[in-house]
């Protein structure tokens, strides 16, 4: 079984892809059947992933010695791309997380999407997304990764715009696609440069040639390539300054937010960096950049999440912030901590999103947390699971977030104090805004009279994910995650209890603070907002970055476009039309000679003949000479 799973790993993305084709082409209107096929396909993937995980564990496959299969995709003179499968702990971890979360989210969706006209369409898109994401996970080279990278982008576009009849949804979809495209622009250039420099984009081969190249040529060019490559993750993983699409992406259905914009697709950027870690880790400047962008994004996202009102937007900014953490971990050199956090985050953040979806479903799609309240009693399952999610993300022991976040902070502290400080402040802020969300939604007096029931399909995944949010961190810690998945030992071997207790205390403090403001309402939040004044306004308006980009777009896209169109219409085409007008004018002039009087033509003709005759007579000798020489004919 394990051997079969290992050698047939290519089936994992292929089966959901087939499900997509079948549902998309034939089963759009058969709701139950389409859901069943999609879920079966992803279950198959999950089982296979489990088998592969077993194989990796038993065969001792490590990141340095992966299992690879490949077939030729393109081969032309001077260029060859393969498609293939790379199995190592990194990809297995991703396979497990993606298939598991995808499976749970799709089960949840059966309840969530019930009665929607686009039910079949939804499951076909979900299958396509799963297929692309899984394909990305097992990519053996940059081009294959780019292919699936773009495909998950497409799925994200389709699913954000799933409610295509709503204008915000379609605008958000467009924004997501174009913003990530800007990142992909850099990624593509980076890949092209790599291909040019080394003649290959294969991870295995690059791993061998890059150290040699570095020894010979230094890091200059590679750093530039690395920065360009990193633009892709900046776009895809919502890092500053290309984060603007992610909050808007919440226009999609809640399961989409949970799966794509929390657990899987947005971590593709982190995964790319991890996959090409041999490249990134050998470039210190780049690592610094990654760490700082990550840290800044973490802080930045948290600061906006502070003041938002819409429940899913808060979670979106929280995702941005947590992705920043993962980048920070990569930047400070701890692949293990980053992957650990990636895994725990996938569980607790998708849990939070699914809970948010359940809450919104229950209260007639109300999104503003200030208009909710007291839901604790009305939906106990959601309340309990969401609380677990909040505790996990806030980093309170013994929940999963505590261990993974602590691993990151410890690694950061090991490398640079400022990074650590940003990290710990962000941790405090995270605990605060999550507690605010929890207290506002579930505590206080009830504002909704009618609350819809949460169906069983939706409850089951919540419970499973909550369980994972509890145990995944502790399990990882006890069994020593890094050794277990064989990324190598973490940067900091043992838990630094000083750091851990500091962050725990800060998180508790944040909870107390939040309780006083939003739970017991001892301090009024409005007054605090007023006191914070301009800071509150700025964060509430997301630092006006959207407005700034819109302005840039108006100037540099629309403005220049209009100028160019003007040039095209009046200068280039103007010249053409002017030439044709000139020709017309000239021909009008000439046509004046065509009087239509045959006699005048005849007169001119006669004159011509006479002149010719005279000439002939005058130059008779010469004409004779020419004729004699037989020249002309």
């Amino acid at each position: 079984m394990e051997q079969f799973a290992l050698t047939h790993a290519w089936l994992i993305p292929l089966v959901p892809a087939a499900a997509f084709a079948i549902i998309g082409l034939f089963l759009q209107n058969f709701h139950k059947l389409s859901a069943a096929i999609a879920i079966l396909a992803i279950t198959f993937g999950f089982v296979m992933s489990l088998g592969i995980a077993g194989a990796v564990f038993n065969l001792g496959i490590t990141v340095d010695a992966p299992f690879v299969q490949r077939i030729e995709w393109i081969k032309i003179a001077g260029l060859q791309f393969d498609m293939g499968v790379i199995i190592d702990p990194l990809s297995v971890l991703m396979l497990l997380v993606v298939t598991l979360v995808s499976l749970l989210v799709q089960i949840y969706s059966v309840g969530y999407m019930k009665g929607d006209k686009g039910f079949g369409r939804f499951f076909s898109y979900m299958s396509l997304f799963s297929a692309s994401m899984l394909g990305l996970n097992i990519s053996i080279n940059f081009v294959q990764m780019y292919v699936f990278w773009e495909l998950v982008g497409l799925c994200s576009y389709l699913l954000i715009g799933f409610y295509y009849y709503r204008i915000p949804a379609r605008e958000a979809a467009k924004k997501a696609f174009i913003t990530t495209r800007i990142g992909d622009f850099g990624l593509l250039i980076g890949i092209l440069l790599l291909q040019m420099l080394f003649g290959t984009v294969d991870f295995i081969q690059l791993r061998q040639v890059i150290p040699v190249y570095l020894m010979a040529n230094g890091a200059g060019v590679l750093t530039i390539i690395g920065i360009l490559l990193f633009m892709g993750p900046i776009g895809k993983s919502g890092q500053f300054p290309l984060h603007v699409w992610l909050p808007d992406a919440m226009e999609g259905p809640a399961p989409v937010s949970a799966l794509i914009h929390a657990a899987t697709m947005v971590v593709a950027g982190v995964y790319l960096v991890a996959r090409a870690y041999f490249l990134f880790a050998s470039l210190p400047i780049l690592m610094n950049i990654i760490a700082w962008i990550g840290a800044f994004t973490a802080f930045f996202g948290a600061s906006i999440a502070f003041s938002q009102h819409a429940i899913k937007r808060i979670l979106a900014y929280s995702t941005i912030s947590q992705l920043g953490y993962m980048m920070l971990a990569l930047g400070v050199g701890s692949l293990t901590a980053s992957m650990f956090h990636l895994m725990t985050h996938a569980f607790f953040k998708s849990l939070l999103f699914l809970c948010a979806g359940a809450v919104m479903h229950a209260v007639n799609e109300e999104a503003d947390i200030f208009k909710m309240g007291g839901l604790r009693r009305k939906m106990p399952v959601v309340f309990v699971t969401m609380t677990i999610g909040v505790l996990a993300i806030s980093g309170l022991p013994p929940f999963s977030g505590f261990f993974s976040k602590d691993a990151i902070l410890a690694a950061a502290a090991h490398v640079s104090m400022p990074l650590y400080l940003i990290g710990i402040v962000t941790a405090f802020m995270t605990a605060f805004y999550m507690a605010r969300l929890l207290f506002l939604v579930f505590f206080g007096e009830s504002r909704q009279k009618e609350v819809h029931k949460v169906s069983r399909f939706m409850q089951l995944p919540l419970i499973v994910l909550a369980a994972l949010a509890v145990v995944s961190g502790l399990g990882g810690y006890v069994y020593n995650f890094g050794d277990w998945v064989r990324f190598g030992p973490p940067v900091v071997e043992h838990m630094d209890w000083l750091l851990a207790s500091t962050s725990t205390l800060l998180s508790l403090l944040a909870f107390v603070l939040a309780w006083n403001i939003y739970g017991s309402k001892r301090w009024s939040s409005d007054i605090i907002a007023k006191k914070l004044g301009i800071i509150y306004t700025i964060t509430f308006n997301k630092y006006y970055i959207d407005e700034f980009y819109a302005l840039l777009c108006r100037i540099f896209i629309d403005g220049i476009g209009k100028i160019m169109y003007f040039i095209d219409l009046y200068i280039i085409d103007g010249t053409v039309n002017a030439v044709s007008a000139l020709v017309l004018l000239f021909s009008k002039l000439l046509s004046k000679f065509q009087t239509g009087q045959v006699q005048r033509y005849a007169a001119v003709f006669v004159c011509g003949v006479v002149i010719l005759l005279l000439c002939t007579i005058m130059y008779l000798d010469k004409v004779n000479g020419v004729l004699a020489a037989g020249g002309a004919f």
């Binding site: 030729e72 995709w73 393109i74 081969k75 032309i76 003179a77 001077g78 260029l79 081009v143 780019y146 292919v147 699936f148 773009e150 495909l151 497409l154 715009g161 295509y164 009849y165 709503r166 204008i167 949804a169 379609r170 605008e171 979809a173 467009k174 696609f177 174009i178 495209r181 800007i182 992909d184 622009f185 593509l188 250039i189 092209l192 440069l193 291909q195 040019m196 896209i557 629309d558 220049i560 476009g561 209009k562 160019m564 169109y565 095209d568 280039i572 085409d573 053409v576 044709s580």
Partner: protein, 512 residues
């Protein structure tokens, strides 16, 4: 050659034209059936040729040669290699799609389909011709039907159809006039009087004998560049393209954007590069600059367009810029990409024009401001829009990605910084395509549009046919790239030698 496959492919549409002459003009149905049958047979045979073409040998296959005017060295000779075979395939696919997308034409359908079939034959002829004379003959054959079709069946929006038809025709004829001068000069110069020939293969060897001096090549290539560049809508000779497509009926837009433009790129490679290598090398930097202008300038303009046909028109100008870039980078990878991009762009622009044609035919609207949320009423057409749009954006898994990638890669080897500018085109493309898609397809239901029905029956054939090709070549690019490679890869050493030939930059450097 025992079985004249290519000749049969060429003759079948003409036979259908002959048959159509005898069908009474009033029986619309049989006219359409005859045209569709002819194109089906032709496409079937082309697919047979495509499948049986032996890429491992490469070179001209399915050849046939009959002396015609031996005094001038003209012979009827046809054949396909790795470069022309995909173009022949493209022509047939789009030809069939064009026939079906004109299914609802009820104004003089007999004349329409006769002209359409002549047009398709002419285009196919240029691609299979191994003789320069036949090439020119077929090329000139193409211009006339287009003019008539635009004038009679076209549509008037920003510009009148008469203006559009006139502009299209005059531009093409001007271009071909320059080209003709170049070709005649080439014919006279290449060989001594008694050996003169129009045979392209023989002419391609002429530069080896030293009869074509470098300065001669530079001048003649420039003439060819003017001719083929105009056809390819090279900046600044591109303005006929959006106006022309806007005025033309759907089928003409499809064939024009889909294949006719590609004669420009094909001619540049087949005649420009292979016969006049030094000239091609000399002008390459200029072509790169103009190609970049195409890519970015046209994309910018496409962003502010309102009329769907103008968006696609400028988009096609932008995409042809990639072909120019791929050509002018002058290495095997980029040339393969250029040819592949011609196929890719042909299929997707044909699909685009087909769906726009349907929408216009039904609603008589083409403006982004008027059409809203047609995904509600026309889901199938919307899928066509999405497929064409996404492959235009260069989404992997559809036909557009690999050609662009190979062009970029080839370009990076020569001009890395300009290549980065070219890559920025993918962002602009995404902007203009998505702006249009989201406005036209998505959004709240416009109840005013409820009376219009989705595409059905014969109208679905182009969507299905072109969509299949888009996806098939996207998922299995080797099907396309392998064949093209067999035509381009043997040029490797030839292109290698070109490295030593001076280019425009060297001359400019000398002046400074």
């Amino acid at each position: 050659m025992d079985f004249p496959l290519l000749t049969i492919i060429l003759v079948i549409p003409l036979l259908a034209v002959g048959l159509l002459m005898f069908i009474p003009p009033s029986s619309f149905k049989s006219v359409k059936v005859v045209a569709a049958t002819a194109m089906c047979i032709s496409l079937g045979l082309t697919i047979y040729a495509y499948v049986t073409y032996d890429s491992s040998i490469g070179g001209m296959q399915f050849t046939q040669s009959i002396p015609w005017i031996s005094d001038l060295g003209v012979s009827y000779s046809v054949g396909v290699d790795g470069i022309s075979l995909p173009m022949l395939f493209l022509t047939n696919v789009i030809g069939l799609a064009a026939v079906f997308s004109s299914w609802n034409i009820n104004v003089r359908p007999k004349e329409f389909f006769i002209l359409l079939l002549i047009l398709i034959t002419g285009v196919m002829g240029t691609f299979v011709a191994c003789d320069l004379f036949i090439f020119l003959l077929c090329y000139e054959l193409v211009v006339i039907p287009i003019y008539i079709m635009v004038i009679i069946w076209g549509s008037t929006k920003r510009v009148t159809k008469e203006y559009a038809g006139m502009k299209l025709t005059i531009y093409l004829l001007m271009g071909s006039a320059f080209m003709l001068v170049g070709v005649v000069a080439l014919y006279l110069q290449a060989f001594p009087a008694e050996l003169r020939t129009f045979d392209i293969a023989a002419l391609s060897n002429a530069h080896l004998y030293g009869t074509l001096s470098q300065s001669f090549q530079i001048i003649v290539f420039f003439l060819l560049l003017l001719g083929f560049g105009t056809l390819l809508s090279m900046f600044p000779f591109h303005t006929w393209s959006p106006d022309g497509y806007a005025g033309a009926p759907t089928a003409v837009s499809m064939i024009h954007a889909g294949v006719l433009k590609k004669i420009g790129g094909y001619g540049l490679i087949r005649l420009g590069l292979l016969i006049l290598p030094a000239g091609a090398k000399f002008w390459a930097p200029l072509i790169i600059i103009l190609g970049l202008a195409n890519v970015i300038y046209a994309a910018y303009i496409a962003i502010v367009q309102k009329d769907l046909k103008y968006v696609v028109g400028y988009s096609s100008v932008s995409h042809m810029g990639y072909v120019l870039l791929g050509f002018a980078a002058l290495n095997t990878i980029s040339l393969t990409g250029a040819v592949a991009n011609m196929v890719a762009h042909g299929i997707m622009s044909a699909l685009f024009f087909a769906v726009i044609g349907y929408v216009y035919e039904k609603t008589h609207m083409r403006s982004v401001d008027q059409l809203r949320g047609i995904a509600h009423q026309m889901p199938r057409i919307s899928v066509g829009f999405m497929l064409a749009g996404m492959s235009s954006v260069g989404l992997p898994g559809l036909i557009g990605f690999i050609p662009e990638y190979t062009i970029f890669l080839g370009l990076f080897k020569v001009y890395p910084f300009l290549a980065m500018l070219a890559v920025s085109g993918i962002v602009f493309t995404a902007i203009y395509i998505l702006r249009v898609l989201q406005k036209v397809l998505f959004g709240p239901r416009d109840y005013g549009l409820d009376k219009y029905k989705d595409a059905k029956g014969a109208e679905l054939v182009p969507l299905f046919l072109l969509g299949t090709v888009l996806v098939l070549f996207g998922l299995f690019p080797q099907l396309l790239m392998g064949v093209i490679n067999s035509g381009v890869a043997p040029l490797g050493p030839f292109l290698q030698e070109l490295n030593n030939v001076p280019s425009l930059l060297v001359t400019l450097g000398g002046i400074w």
